[in-house]
Symmetry: C2
Amino acid sequence: MRQQDWSTVRALPLFRDMSEENFAALMNAAFLQRFPAHVSLIAEGDLPDFLHIVVEGSVELFARHDGQETTLDIVRPVTTFILAAVIRDEVYLKSARTLSPAQILMVPARTVREVFGRDAAFARAMVNELADRYRGFVRALKNEKLRTSTERLANWILQEDRHQGGTRTIALDIDKRKLASRLGMTPENLSRNLAQLAAHGVRSSGRGIEIKDVAALADFAKPNTLLDG
Amino acid sequence: MRQQDWSTVRALPLFRDMSEENFAALMNAAFLQRFPAHVSLIAEGDLPDFLHIVVEGSVELFARHDGQETTLDIVRPVTTFILAAVIRDEVYLKSARTLSPAQILMVPARTVREVFGRDAAFARAMVNELADRYRGFVRALKNEKLRTSTERLANWILQEDRHQGGTRTIALDIDKRKLASRLGMTPENLSRNLAQLAAHGVRSSGRGIEIKDVAALADFAKPNTLLDG
DNA sequence: ACGTAGACTTGATAAAGATCAAGTTTCGAT
DNA sequence: ATCGAAACTTGATCTTTATCAAGTCTACGT
């Protein structure tokens, strides 16, 4: 990877505090790869070859079992993924595919583990990163076990609105079937749940969702920082 | 805490590789506390005061939302819990209570963070620990999203049998209502699901579960290392 | 040993969610 | 602009899970 492209990656909490030398060691071993949309990046069950960092585009993390498939997360720039598998050198628990054309920075797993062994600042940053991700999954499990599908959707809308700047107008950049899978429901039920939320201040048409009445929506959704982050 | 009690804790992967001096710093600040059964240890939403280590007895990690409660994990000796909250100094996402009389080693959170800052081996061990826990929650979420409640029970039986030594006779040491909550179902449905599994080689009576036909049970359960660990 | 509270089971019913089957809309390719 | 495939919606039905309501069992304290 060329040096002028390093800065955004260097700015990530995971790499911010490590030594210049060790960061260079990671980047020199890494390469930036372009992928078209809907291409498989990694498959659950395989051993990790690379630490992946989404630099551009979006990536779906999903898992299959017994003919079913579910979306576990959708990763956007600039974020690492499958860090836990790389550091433990154990098989991936998730598969990954591009949702859009994407640029992925790929750092050889061995290099990551080597640098991890000699750079204490990197090790400490990794602890913070993993602890944060861990908490994300705790929240996801609570969300799944303690809410109905309509409530999950309502809270997703509130959260997504905040991420998109709080304009109360959300533009979907993924298929609704993907959103349904991420929220743990079928596409059919996402449709019905959206229709249901009309009674709680939500208007939707095509790829747009509009919050007409935040108070009413929040009243129904019962957002909770211990579940929604 | 007295020095003769340190050895089992010192043997944990999390503490094994750190310097003698820093381990002593942790232990000298720590104290071993006895609790009766059914006592609250921590409450979600609070800021962490201590890293907890179950030395004896069993502890339930659970969460509440909107009048509902769900069990997230049951922790047995010798294991740390709420590590992620301690290291990030952020509010607990889970509550904890004793299920039986228990001994808990409590290490002040500040001490843990201090030692973490200066002992690289501890930081690296923490990465491994957190990565492992992270993967546990990924599996839990997959288990929840990709299986029916009866399948979750069937796989729990297979797994618990392995943990108890593969004798095909499981002795429950927790209430069935707790097990139901851990597996994401109501007590009523746990009863019905157990009855259902009679058709797949499982006999149960009171606190005992017997696997009469492992092949039949496995055939129904479809165990998968990417979900069950 | 007895009594009682709580745990467990079982049945009936309701709610939530999935599946099946049309239709309709959207969007990209020609 | 048109066509066709895929995405989306809506309705009907079925499965899964939760809730309500008895009952039975179990374990513990007196």
